[in-house]
C-alpha cells in the first residue's frame, strides 16, 4: 500500500498571520506531495512496500538515499503539520511542562535552546525536541530530511516537536530572516499534540 499525502487538519490560511497561506499551500501540495510520491517510487517493488514509515526510518542505513531523503521528508512534514494549529501557542501543560523544566531548567531556557538549534542549522534541515529512550528530553537538529528516528542520527529518540528550517518553509514571507520565522512558530505550536506524542 502506497503512502498518501496526509490532509491538513486546518485550512491553508488558518495559520495566518504567522505562516501565510501561499507558503502553506506550496509546502503541502508541492513539497510534501513530492516527498510522498518519490518515497512511493523508491519503495515500489521492494520489500519496504507495506512497512510503516517508522519501521523504514529505524533501519534507514540499510536503504537507498532516495528512501532516506523522501521517507524523512514524508514523515517530517506530517509531524510538522500536526504540531501546528490555529489555536496553538502558549506553553504545554502537565507532565510535559514538568519534564521540560526538569531537563532544560525552565520553559524559556528550552525555548531559547530550540530556537538556537533552528537558527544555527546551516543549510537545510530541522530542529527537534526529542524524547530519548530513557525519557529525557533533548534538543537537536538534523540536516536535510534526516530525523532522530533514523539509525544514522547523532541524537536518537522520538521527535515530539519539529521545526522545518529549509528555506522553502519561510522564504516567501520572511526571505533571509529565519529568526523571525522561528519566533512566529511559537505562536502556532499545538502543544496538545506534542503532549500526546510525549505520553505515547
Amino acid at each position: 500500500m502506497a503512502f498518501e499525502l496526509p490532509k491538513l487538519a486546518y485550512a491553508y490560511d488558518a495559520l495566518e498571520p504567522h505562516i501565510d497561506a501561499r507558503t502553506m499551500e506550496i509546502h503541502h501540495s508541492k513539497h510534501h506531495a513530492g516527498y510522498t510520491n518519490n518515497l512511493n517510487a523508491a519503495i515500489a517493488g521492494t520489500d519496504l512496500e507495506g512497512k510503516s514509515i517508522e519501521e523504514i526510518l529505524a533501519n534507514i542505513s540499510q536503504h537507498s538515499v532516495a528512501v532516506r531523503n523522501n521517507g524523512g521528508g514524508f514523515y517530517n512534514h506530517d509531524l510538522f503539520w500536526k504540531v501546528m494549529s490555529p489555536n496553538g501557542g502558549g506553553k504545554p501543560s502537565g507532565d510535559l511542562l514538568t519534564a521540560i523544566e526538569k531537563d532544560f531548567g525552565s520553559f524559556d531556557a528550552f525555548k531559547e535552546e530550540f530556537s538556537k538549534a533552528a537558527a544555527t542549522r546551516f543549510g537545510s534541515g530541522w530542529a527537534w525536541l526529542v524524547k530519548q529512550a530513557d525519557g529525557k528530553l533533548v534538543v537537536t537538529s538534523t540536516a536535510n530530511q534526516d530525523n532522530p528516528l533514523m539509525d544514522i542520527a547523532d541524537v536518537k529518540g522520538t521527535p515530539i516537536l519539529g521545526l522545518d528550517v529549509w528555506e522553502h518553509a519561510y522564504y516567501l514571507k520572511f526571505q533571509n530572516r529565519r529568526p523571525d520565522y522561528i519566533s512566529v512558530f511559537w505562536e502556532v505550536i499545538n502543544w496538545e499534540e506534542v503532549v500526546k506524542r510525549f505520553q505515547d
Binding site: I26, K30, F122, G123, S124, W166, H168, Y171, N176
Partner: protein, 193 residues
Amino acid sequence: MEHKLPALPYELGALEPYISKKTLEFHYGKHHQAYITNLNNLIKGTAFEDASLEDIVKHSEGGIFNNGAQVYNHTFYFEAFKPNASAEPNGKLKAAIEASFGSFDNFKAEFSKAGATLFGSGWVWLVVDTAGKLAILKTKNAGNPLRDGFIPILTMDVWEHAYYLDTQNARPKYIENFWNIINWELVEKRFEE
C-alpha cells in the same frame, strides 16, 4: 583583512526575466552581505584574520569555512552573469566541453541534472580537474571544489534562496533560466588562466 561585498557588474534588475530584481536584492544585498559580515566577525583574532579568501576556503573549518566559502561561492556565481549573454562558449572552452561531454547540449543536460538532483542546499560546479579535463561536481551547503584540488570555472547556486521568490518549488525552471545569463567570456577567461 576586511572582506567587502564586491560590486555587481550589472544592475540588480538586469537579469530579468531570468532572475528577478527582488531575488537579487535579497540574495546579493542580504545573504551575500551577511556571509561577509559574519566572516569578518569570525576571523577577528584568528589565524585567518589576514588570510586570502582562497586560503580560508582551502584550510578553515566550521563557521569560518561556512561563511568564507559562501563569500567565495556567491562572488564567483554573481560575477559570471550578464544580460544579453551568448548561448554558448567559444574557442578552447567550447572544444574542451565537447571533448569532455560529447557536446555542449550534453554538458548542459548533465549540469542541469546535477542541479535538479542535489538534495538540500548546495552548489553545482564546472571544474577543471588535475589532469586538465572538465568535470561536473556537486557540493553541499558551502562546499567548494578548491578543497579537493579542482579549479572551478562556473557555478550554480541551488540553495532555495537562489530561486524561491521566482520559481518556488520549481527548481528546474530556475536551472533553465540560468543558461540565458551566463557570461561565457568570463568563464572562458577562467578556463584559460
